[in-house]
Amino acid sequence: MKHPIYTTFAALLVIMLVAAEARGWTPMRPTEVKNIPRSIRDNPGAYRPHYRSFFGTGRYLRGK
């Protein structure tokens, strides 16, 4: 077989791509939190996102 390392690398890429599509992987990484209290429905304004404690308001400024 010609270029065994390259062929293996390419085959791994294809396998990873198929796996990514099968599992619905995307580049986005949202903060995943377990066991959110059900009271969030009753008082949504009181809920504090966990990522805010790291990133401030979360928004970034734009405009020329």
Partner: protein, 431 residues
């Protein structure tokens, strides 16, 4: 080849013994002791030229060495060093004359560790010109002109089938089609063509059972085979094969993706001084069906020179697992000295990875800074939405090795032609 037939004579200049290996084929012989060039056809070995070389050279393959090269036995009978001068710099190379009584003569040349196995060709190649670069065709193979220079004989040793002299010169034109090189040597009296084949030094060393290791080749020689191009070529073919697989998978994915809308809502934002937290709300529950896949949350807001920010929490009602993320929609536009400009978009798309089936709702906290304090927006949630990025990333990663080898091949070709008459910014290198 049987035992060498030799004839022993004495040098009329210094009295040292002279050995003739090619017998009646020799026209001149060099005394290895005093360096005088003698007429081999004269029984008294008339001196053609006393030693005139400016320096002495020692052949890497001693005269008299015998070996089997490419299945035929040869003996080294002559050695000469030749020179060309380009832009004031002199370049020297060695030529070894090999003899086989049944096959005649052939040559080995060596420059900077690069060896060529050279044979005289009887047929004259057909010459044409393409642009400013001539080329010749021999036996159906096309050779590109590489360099024209005047070669001077600097040092000779052994015997030769012509009357050799130090200071002899000939105009040499080299044409290349790696691993072969066709060379034309012209003197006022005659023109000869020879065909060289690039030969690894290790093969020469093995053929003549030479001690030690050969010099490591330096630089890229005119007809040195491009070792990278075949690798780049076959790797490119492999790339195309896998690229086709990836494109095929991508097409399949885009054709079969469900793109199912699981939730959509239109809402508006109005806050004349309302506390931010009071604007948070939760959506009705919606169902995400099917296999674990990505979930697209599209936010479309009619912002004009303003921004809206949405704190999202996608909550799985059964497990309590929550995916938190924030998205900004901002759109600015205007006109300045450079003309009209715009920045941002009124639409944002977030792709949540690997969201399993279940009952979900969104907790949304909008914030905005818009001129009117009133903003309409729309949120749409879809599952199983294909994205092109992973396919492009795979294609790009896959292309790195072939590109690497192609660049090496390109670099080798550049280095080769840099030494030619066709080097960039180099019109005429000839002496």
């Amino acid at each position: 080849m049987s035992a060498p037939a030799v004839s022993s004579l004495s040098c009329p200049q210094c009295g040292a013994a002279i050995t003739l290996r090619t017998l009646d084929q020799a026209q001149s012989v060099v005394c290895s002791s005093c360096g005088s060039i003698l007429d081999a056809r004269d029984p008294n070995l008339h001196v053609l030229q006393a030693f005139e070389a400016k320096q002495k050279f020692t052949p890497q393959i001693p005269l008299g060495t015998r070996g089997a090269l490419k299945g035929e036995k040869w003996e080294v009978v002559g050695y000469q060093v030749r020179r060309i001068t380009i832009d004031g710099t002199s370049y020297y190379w060695e030529e070894y004359l090999l003899f086989n009584p049944y096959k005649g003569f052939r040559y080995l040349t060596q420059y900077d560790g690069h060896w060529n196995d050279v044979q005289i060709v009887k047929a004259a190649p057909a010459e044409s010109i393409n642009g400013r670069q001539p080329f010749v065709t021999l036996y159906g193979e096309t050779f590109k002109h590489f360099q024209t220079a005047t070669a001077y004989t600097e040092f000779v040793l052994g015997e030769f089938p012509w009357q050799v002299r130090v200071g002899d010169h000939a105009v040499v034109r080299d044409f290349v089609a790696p691993p072969r090189m066709l060379s034309e040597e012209s003197t006022p009296d005659e023109t000869t063509w020879s065909l060289g084949t690039y030969t690894p030094a290790a093969q020469i060393w093995k053929a003549f059972s030479l001690p030690g290791k050969p010099l490591r080749p330096r630089g890229v020689y005119a007809n040195q085979p491009d070792e990278y191009r075949p690798v780049a070529g076959s790797m490119a073919k492999r790339y195309l094969l896998f690229a086709a697989i990836i494109v095929g998978l991508g097409v399949l994915r885009f054709v079969t993706a469900a793109r199912e809308t699981v939730f959509a809502t239109d809402s508006s934002f109005f806050r004349p001084g309302a506390p931010a937290d009071s604007l948070a709300f939760v959506t009705p529950t919606f169902t995400v069906k099917g296999r674990t896949t990505d979930l697209e949350v599209t936010t479309e807001a009619q912002v004009d020179n303003g921004w809206a920010y949405f704190d999202y929490a996608l909550v799985n009602e059964q497990t309590g697992t929550t995916y938190e993320f924030g998205r900004e929609v901002s759109y600015y536009y205007g006109r300045d000295s450079d003309g009209a400009w715009s920045e941002g978009s009124r639409r944002d798309r977030a792709l949540l990875p690997s969201v399993p089936a279940g009952q979900y709702f969104l907790r949304v906290l909008p914030e905005a800074q818009v001129p009117t304090d009133f903003l309409e927006y729309r949120i749409v949630v879809r599952r199983d939405v294909p994205i092109v990025t992973p396919y492009l990333v795979c294609l790009a990663l896959l292309a790195i090795p072939p590109i690497f080898w192609a660049l090496r091949a390109w670099g080798m070709e550049s280095a080769r032609w840099k030494e030619s008459d066709y080097a960039p910014d180099d019109d005429d290198d000839d002496e």
